[in-house]
């Protein structure tokens, strides 16, 4: 069937599962979800790898159970976290360490000293590990109900819709709904299907086209300069956004059809006014996870508490506080970068670069406000905010250069090339159509992109589906059928099309 949720077979699978879900007795609806999730995982990739999520869920379930019952909860917490993180680490990061060490000794002309491995990595391991790990820690902190049935916990931990690309769920907020009875409701099915359709539009109409331009430049980094690097990077920013957020629309839409509400993962991130704000709008559930399970506990350790005290004594209250948090944030952002993959391009592009942005933002806030006031510019003026949005987008794009480039070196080449030639006029020449996309496709891309941005911005002031549902029947039908046919007819199926792959699925 292939792991992708945009394939035809997946839609058949989904329809069958939905039918079964609503005809079985309500008390065993979750069993249908569990069976469906196992079947989906088996069919998604290398079937045998299902052993990882099955065992991982068992470790989390059993660990949490012992934490809640035993008088040594700390020991069980440590063991469970070590097992789950250990598995993730061995599968995903052993090569990262080997490659880094070998790279460093390579500078001194020494042969590689550490072996590299080639493990088969189970799909979605970074996502489901975080989901089940959060549950274990919450049980330790006594803020979540404890699930005493392994199969029910498995249903939550392996639920097929988010298992491969998130969102990262929290048992204390999203878990119990899986085991409640769910009546078939017209609104859930229609609203869910509408959201799925919107997700399809974003992925196969928008993302698949912007991707072509990005790929053309990023796969030939030495051949493009100046404005073409900028264009490809902007295209990649929208590729990643429409692909990942579109995938989330599909995942959340499918869940809505099963009467399950999953947490949102995006909220118009490219309208963020600064990088902190951006991370509250982009991959929201990862940010929340990191905040609750890494950042807060880190800052509350004895080490950081005493460090803050020392720093305050040395640098004064404000600066002392700031410097301590910068240090804790360094660890946080390193972790965020590493989570994205065992490669320095992720550690820098999705981690440390963003740490640097936030630190610089904090340090320059006061002087910039002072300068603005001095030259009689209101720091809260709308146009200043607009400039902040553009700045934040450009900063995020610099991170995407590392994220997308085939290697860390390629990223450096592209950044150098971007500023090596000022060739804006070529943007309006035929050269633009030599970037893997012809004039017609290019036009479709622009129109679809504009439509996506327009609807996303509209969605900021309340659900667009709600607004449409209040319109008269013919209007509603025209809107949804237009979107359906637009997506089917203009979906980009490319040469050798095998249904779009979701970029975040690799994590």
């Amino acid at each position: 069937m292939g792991a992708t949720v945009t394939s035809f077979y997946f839609l058949c699978f989904l329809a069958g599962l939905l039918l079964l879900y609503y005809i079985v007795p309500k008390s065993i609806q979750w069993v249908v979800l569990m069976a469906g999730s196992i079947a989906y995982y088996l069919l998604s990739g290398n079937g045998i790898l299902i052993i990882y999520p099955l065992l991982g869920s068992f470790v989390a379930f059993f660990g949490a159970y012992m934490i809640s019952k035993d008088d040594k909860p700390k020991v069980y917490l440590f063991l469970t976290v070590a097992l789950l993180i250990g598995t993730l680490f061995v599968l995903k990061y052993v090569n990262f360490i080997s490659n880094t060490v070998n790279g460093i000794v390579g500078w001194f002309n020494v042969e590689p000293v550490l072996p590299t491995t080639s493990f088969l990595i189970p799909l979605g391991i970074s996502f489901y590990t975080f989901t089940i790990l959060g549950y274990v820690i919450d049980v330790y902190n006594k803020i979540t109900p404890v699930q005493s049935n392994y199969f029910k916990f498995l249903t939550f931990g392996m639920y097929f819709a988010p298992v491969l690309s998130g969102p990262i769920m929290k048992y204390r907020e999203d878990g119990e709904q899986f085991f409640k009875p769910h009546k078939l409701e017209y609104r859930n099915i229609t609203f869910g299907a509408q959201r799925v359709l919107w997700g399809f539009f974003k992925t196969i109409v928008v993302s698949e086209r912007t991707k072509l331009i990005a790929d053309t430049v990023y796969n030939n980094p030495t051949e493009y300069q100046g404005v073409f690097v900028f264009l490809a990077t902007f295209c990649y920013a929208f590729t990643l956004y429409s692909n990942f957020s579109g995938c989330m629309d599909i995942v959340l839409g499918i869940s809505e059809m099963f009467a399950l509400k999953l947490p949102e993962n995006f909220s118009t991130p490219f309208l963020a006014k600064n990088i902190s704000d951006y991370w509250r709008r982009w991959h929201i559930t990862l940010g929340v996870w990191m905040k609750e399970y890494v950042f807060y506990p880190l800052l509350r350790t004895g080490f950081f508490t005493s460090l803050q005290k020392k720093m305050k004594d040395r640098f004064g209250k404000k600066k002392g506080k700031q410097y301590t948090t910068f240090f804790a944030m360094f660890i946080l952002w390193f972790t965020v970068g590493v989570w994205h993959g065992g490669d320095w391009k992720y550690v820098v592009g999705s981690g440390l670069l963003h740490w640097f942005y936030i630190v610089m933002g904090e340090l320059t806030l006061e002087p910039v406000t002072k300068i603005l006031t001095k030259v009689h510019i209101d720091p809260k003026a709308r146009w200043v905010d607009a400039l902040r949005v553009i700045r934040t987008f450009l900063l995020a794009c610099l991170g995407f250069v590392f994220f997308r480039a085939n290697s860390f070196n390629d990223a450096l080449i592209l950044i150098k090339n971007a500023f090596s030639s000022f060739n804006v006029s070529r943007l309006f020449s035929v050269d633009i159509f030599n970037m893997g996309i012809d004039p017609i496709e290019f036009t479709i891309m622009l129109v679809s992109l504009a439509l996506m941005i327009f609807i996303s911005v509209m969605g900021q002031n309340g659900s667009v589906r709600d607004k449409i549902s209040k319109k008269k029947l013919p209007v509603r039908w025209i809107i949804w059928y237009a979107l359906l046919f637009y997506t089917i007819l203009l979906g980009y199926y490319g040469p050798g099309f095998s249904a779009s792959e979701f970029i975040y699925q690799g994590f």
């Binding site: 919450d138 902190n141 006594k142 803020i143 902190s276 905040k291 609750e292 950042f295 807060y296 506990p297 800052l299 509350r300 508490t305 803050q308 404000k318 506080k321 948090t325 944030m329």
Partner: protein
């Protein structure tokens, strides 16, 4: 301590942490109401409150308290 006294002390900590003498918190005050109350300041606020009252919040309380009212309830329950 009465609830009102706790509230007054909590208010002082808020003013101190956010460097803003105009802050007046109520039961319903949340992070949305105070511009600088982000995840960084949340921990500073928690540390400030702990120091003020000589108590210790659990990690669970730190991540689940929804507004100042809940915070005051936790403080009162720990003081009693």
């Amino acid at each position: 301590m009465t609830r009102e006294e706790v509230f007054n002390d909590v208010n002082e900590v808020f003013r101190d942490v956010f460097d803003d003498e105009s802050i007046v918190v109520t039961d319903a005050t949340t992070a949305d109401d105070i511009e600088d109350w982000d995840s960084l300041e949340h921990i500073n606020l928690i540390a400030g409150i702990e120091q003020q009252f000589g108590i210790k919040f659990t990690m669970g309380q730190v991540v689940t308290m929804k507004n100042v009212g809940e915070m005051v309830d936790i403080i009162l329950s720990q003081l009693s």
